[in-house]
């Protein structure tokens, strides 16, 4: 088994919303081409943590970061990193599908266009490739110009994944991507994640432990802003080192 490189190294990360400390001294190494799952009860900070990786928290007034998130050799919170470039390389899929009120095609084409692809043929190729990569192409190939809002919830979410893939990121952040979907659509998303990890590194927040156990290679358990335990998924679920982890896994709380 080859050892994988770290694609992200989080060091001593502390995060504050105004006076409230949401994350306490988090340390984590995310490996390349892994699926890394983050689990924990509601409000434990896992979504906040996810959003520090692509600096989406910058949009919230009053938020502050201390510590480092190292990506490709640079701390993304240091002065010389630009957020716009960062988010091209680290993409995000949200809990609620949020397609733009545009056509299916325009949704996926948005990223490439904004990042400078001008050639029509190239854009079309990218869109088709991304839709295929999100296992959505066959379902929408006859309706690329129809409004994205007309798709079902599951389709919209896969569209959002296609949209994220179209800019060719290296890391894909997924914040409970299937929680608003029915079981069939959820299964499709989980299969997709299996496929995607060959090309991308995926960090997924999930409130479903079964999902974490199914899809991920490594899992981190968060509780009240602390990273209690982070290890191979098998270990976390079969033989957790920390008592709190075990309590959560076995359903004693959360």
């Amino acid at each position: 088994m080859s050892t994988k490189e770290n694609v992200l190294e989080i060091k001593n990360l502390n995060f504050y919303y105004d006076d409230f400390q949401a994350l306490n001294d988090i340390n984590m190494d995310v490996k390349e081409n892994n699926v890394t799952a983050l689990i924990g009860p509601s409000g434990c900070g896992k979504s906040t943590f996810l959003r520090t990786i692509n600096r989406m928290n910058d949009l919230i007034e009053g938020s502050r970061v201390a510590g480092q998130v190292v990506f490709d050799g640079d701390d993304i919170y240091s002065g010389n990193i630009d957020v716009v470039r960062l988010r091209k390389r680290i993409g995000m899929v949200f809990q609620q599908p949020n397609p733009f009120p545009k056509s299916v095609f325009e949704n996926v084409a948005y990223g490439p266009k904004v990042h400078g692809v001008k050639d029509k043929a190239e854009i079309e190729e990218l869109v088709i490739e991304s839709l295929k990569g999100a296992a959505l192409f066959d379902e929408v190939k006859d309706r690329l110009d129809s409004s994205a809002l007309g798709l079902s919830g599951g389709q919209q979410q896969r569209l959002c994944i296609a949209r994220a893939l179209a800019v060719k990121p290296e890391v894909l952040l997924m914040d409970e991507p299937a929680s608003a979907l029915d079981p069939v659509a959820t299964a499709k998303i989980e299969d997709l994640i299996e496929e995607l990890k060959e090309k991308y590194s995926i960090v997924i927040v999930t409130h479903s432990m079964q999902q974490a156990a199914r899809v991920s290679d490594e899992t981190g358990f968060f509780l009240m802003g602390d990273l209690i335990e982070f290890d191979k998924t098998n270990k976390i679920f079969e033989n957790p080192a920390n008592q709190k982890t075990e309590d959560y896994i076995t359903g004693r709380f959360g």
């Binding site: 630009d82 716009v84 470039r85 904004v114 990042h115 400078g116």
Partner: protein, 283 residues
């Protein structure tokens, strides 16, 4: 690729500056307006400005007629519009059946809010001054202005009622109150600060209105104050308009003085509305 990227960042920065300049432009204009009017307005103004009537001599001109006229017209307007406006809003929000007719009425009111004020003047002229025979009186003026601001008051009162949380209503029903009791004792008091704020702003607007009153016959050169609601009258904005139109250049300063008085009254009302809004907002 980096070139395009720099271009994108530059575009973002340029538009940020441009849009900020737009806002600053509006602020600068407002500052210029206030500065210009206040600096001109205090040249000839003294306390007698409030106790003198208009005059053929600019240095003797005063705003007494307009001040009292405004007080009478607006004073009469306040109870009329508050009661009618709030009652209509209560009906539309709490009692009206949810059918096409109600939708039509709501649409009608929204439309009325967008009709130019001078048309209300024509309405006032035709209905109140002529048909009802009220003449060019304070009463006719009040009624005309009331119709003008009523749609705005209704719409804002409706929104105020709508934003009363359902939990409050349910608590009242849970205690056995009927619909009217709930509306009167629970919903209305809760919505009242918002209703008041919207109402004060509507009255502010009415104080500044000129065209409809000119249309229905308020006079421009008036040397008396109204003694009763059937008397003829003028209001401050009309006096200001009159002074602005006079050829003698000193009247420009008198008009500024009148504007200062009007603006100060409006600022005070605006401040009152803001104060109410902040004092009573619990969120």
């Amino acid at each position: 690729m980096s070139n395009l990227y720099q271009k994108r960042k530059l575009t973002d920065k340029i538009f940020k500056v441009v849009f900020l300049m737009f806002i600053i432009l509006a602020l600068v204009v407002l500052a210029a307006l206030i500065f210009d009017i206040f600096s001109k307005g205090f040249v000839m103004m003294d306390l007698d400005f409030f106790t003198r009537f208009d005059s053929r001599f600019p240095e003797k001109a005063g705003i007494k007629a307009g001040l009292f006229g405004t007080l009478y017209v607006i004073g009469l307007m306040i109870p009329i519009t508050f009661i009618t406006g709030t009652a209509t809003a209560i009906y539309l929000e709490e009692y009206a059946p949810k059918n096409k007719l109600t939708d039509l009425i709501k649409l009608n009111i929204a439309n009325l809010a967008g009709i130019p004020s001078i048309i209300y003047g024509m309405l006032g002229l035709g209905v109140f001054v002529r048909t009802l025979g009220l003449g060019r009186s304070v009463l006719a003026g009040s009624l005309t202005l009331s119709l003008l601001v009523l749609p705005v008051i209704i719409v804002s009162a409706q929104e105020a009622l709508r934003s009363v949380p359902k939990s409050l209503r349910n608590a009242s029903y849970g205690l056995g109150a009927n619909h009217w009791q709930t509306v009167y004792k629970v919903v209305l008091p809760s919505a009242l600060p918002s209703i008041m704020t919207g109402f004060i702003l509507a009255i502010s607007r009415a104080i500044g209105e000129t065209a409809p009153l000119i249309m229905m016959g308020a006079l421009t050169f008036v040397m008396f104050t109204p003694q009763g609601i059937m008397d003829s009258f003028t209001v401050m904005p009309i006096q200001i308009f009159n002074w602005t139109s006079l050829p003698k250049s000193e009247y420009e300063l008198v008009a500024a003085s009148g504007s200062v008085v009007l603006l100060l009254i409006l600022f005070a009302l605006n401040g009152l509305a803001t104060f109410i809004r902040y004092k009573f907002s619990r969120d």
